[in-house]
Symmetry: C2
Subunit: 355 residues, 2 copies
Amino acid sequence: MTKSPEAGRNASAEPRLLRACRLEPVDRIPVWFMRQAGRYLPEYRKVREQVPFLTLCKTPDLAAEVTLQPVERFGMDGAVLFSDILLLLEAMGAAVSFEEEGGPKVQVPLNEEKDLERLGLPDPEVELRFMMDAIRSVRRSLSPEVALLGFSGAPFTLATYLVEGGSSRDFRRTKILMYREPRVFRRLMDLLVKAVAECLEAQVRAGAQAVQVFDTWAVTLSPGDYRTYVLPFMQELLGRLKGIGAPVLHFSLGTSTLLESMAEIGAQVLSLDWKIQMGAARARLGERQAVQGNLDPSALFKLPEALEAEVLNILREGSEKPGYIFNLGHGIHPATPLESVYRVVETVRSFRLEP
Amino acid sequence: MTKSPEAGRNASAEPRLLRACRLEPVDRIPVWFMRQAGRYLPEYRKVREQVPFLTLCKTPDLAAEVTLQPVERFGMDGAVLFSDILLLLEAMGAAVSFEEEGGPKVQVPLNEEKDLERLGLPDPEVELRFMMDAIRSVRRSLSPEVALLGFSGAPFTLATYLVEGGSSRDFRRTKILMYREPRVFRRLMDLLVKAVAECLEAQVRAGAQAVQVFDTWAVTLSPGDYRTYVLPFMQELLGRLKGIGAPVLHFSLGTSTLLESMAEIGAQVLSLDWKIQMGAARARLGERQAVQGNLDPSALFKLPEALEAEVLNILREGSEKPGYIFNLGHGIHPATPLESVYRVVETVRSFRLEP
C-alpha cells in the first residue's frame, strides 16, 4: 500500500525516511534506532576510551564520527546527531553535569520565579556552535540516501530537569510548580519553547533534515494535566517550527493512552513505545498521522526467531498505512548483542511492501 | 445508578467497599488510599521514630496500630494491612533488606536454575506468623463497616525483585531470563504463584476480607509479552483463589493499554492509574468489571478547588456503572498535605449517587 510505483528503488533522491515522515510512497520501510550511536558499538566504546561523554558531544569531528558509526555498520536510513538534551539547558545558563551513574544533573534546581533570571535565550550558533558544527560535519560525509536527524528535549521534559535537578520518580516539584505557581511555570515553558524552537531551527539550517523532540517525562501526567500543561506549549512550538521545512518527530514513553491528544500537537511523526500494538495505534491515529516504533529495546535480547517474528508483526501492522518508520520504542540498551541489530535491520530491509 | 434502595445508610452489614467489589449497590462510593498508613501521617511518623520499618512490619500490635491510623483519622472504608511485598520473598528464603534510600533489595539475585533451590514454599502461619497476627489484631478493633484488605506482590513483580535484586529501569535481567530460559522462568513463576496464593489464603483465614495483588512492574512488558509471560500465571493464581471467598483487587501502573488483557485475569477489581480517563476505562471494561482509582497522587498538591474538581470528575465517571471504589492511582506521597486528604475523603463521602 505504501509502495512506490518505481518498485525496487527509492522514488526520488530524497531519503526514504523523510518521504515516510511526509506520508509519501517509499520503496521499503525506513529504519533507524534511538540511541543508535552508543555503547553497544565497539567502535563507539573505542572513541569513549579516549574522551569523556561531554568532550565527545562538544568536539564536532568526534561527535560526527560516532553519529556516522551505526549508519556505516548497519546501513541505517537515518543518522541521529550524537548529543544530549541537557546541553541546551547549559547553553541557557544552567550548570549541568553528566555522571556515569544516575544520569545527568542540573546542579542548582529552579525553585522560584527569581531563579528564572539565571536562564537566558542562547544564540545556538554561539553557545551551541559545537552542535551545529557537528551537524555540518556529518552532512558533508553522509550519503544522500540517509536522512540526518537533529533533536531536542521538549519544553516540559527540559522543565522537569530544571526543577527536579535530574530525573524523578514522581516529578513532585515540577507538579507543585505547575499547580501552585502557574505563572512561573508558564514563564519557564514560554522561555523553553523559544529556546527549543531556535535550537531546532539552527540545527536545520546547519543541515538536519528532520528533528525529533523528546518529551520523555510527559509520562507522569494525567490526560487532563497533559492537555493543560503540555499540549498548548507543544502546539506553540510546532507553530514556530512550521517554516523550517523539516518534519518534526515527537517522542514520548508510557503515553499511549494520550495518543489522540498528542496527535493535536501537529508533529509529522509520533513515536510509539511498546505498550500498544502497532495496529491499534495506527487505527486510533488514522491515515494522516505518520508513526515510528515500536519494538521493545529488550526484545533485542530475545532468541533470533522470536525477535524476527516480533519485528515482522510490527512491520505488517505499521505498513498498513503510509507514513511508517521502523524504530525501537526507546533507546537501545548498551548490552544489546550486535547480531540482534543486524537481524532486525535485515528483516526491515527485506520486508516486501504489499503492492 | 449504583445507589441502594435504602438511601442514606449501608444496605447491609457488609462493608460498602466489599459490596462495590461485587458490583452490588452501595449507599455511597467507598474510598481508601494506597499506602494510606504511612509517613504523611504525624501519628505514623511518631511510631517510626521508635522502631525501624522492618520491626514495625514484624510486630503485630504495632503493624495493627498503624494500619488503623488512617481509618481513625479520615474514616476510610478500607484498612489495608501495613506490610511489605518483599516479606513473602524473605519467608521463601531470599535475603532482603530495606534501606531508607533506593528501595528494598534482594541481597543475592537469582541468576540460574540452581538458584531456585534457595527458595521454598513457606508456611504462612509459621514464617509469616507476624503478618497473620497483625491481621487478627486489626480485625478485633475494626468497625464492621470497614473492610480489612490484605495484599501481596504479584508473581511477575516478585520475580523481578528476585532476578534484578531490586527495582530496575529496563528489567533486562528478568527479560533475558524470560526470553532465553523459559523453563527456569516458568519454574520460578509456578513457585511464586503457589506462594502468593497460600499467603493470600492465610491472610483471608486470619481475617482479611479482600486482597490486593500488586503487579507494579508489569509496566515493562509489551502487550504480547504480557499475554505470554504474565496473564497465564495470573489466571492460575486467580483460579487458586476462587474458593477463598474474598474479592481480589489487581493493581498495576502504566498498563492502561492492556486493560482488556488484564480483564481476562478474573480479578474482581482492576486498579487504574491516572494515565487514562476513568470514563474511557469503564467504557472499555464494560458492566461486569469493578474498578478502583484513579486520582494522580500528585493531584493532592493541587489548589483545593482544582483538586475537588478533579475528584468530582473521577467520581462522576467512575460511578456511571456499579462496582466503583475511589482510590489514588498509586501510593500516597509522604509529603502530602493532610488537608488535601481530608478534602478528598469528604468530597467522596458527600458525593450523591444518581438514583
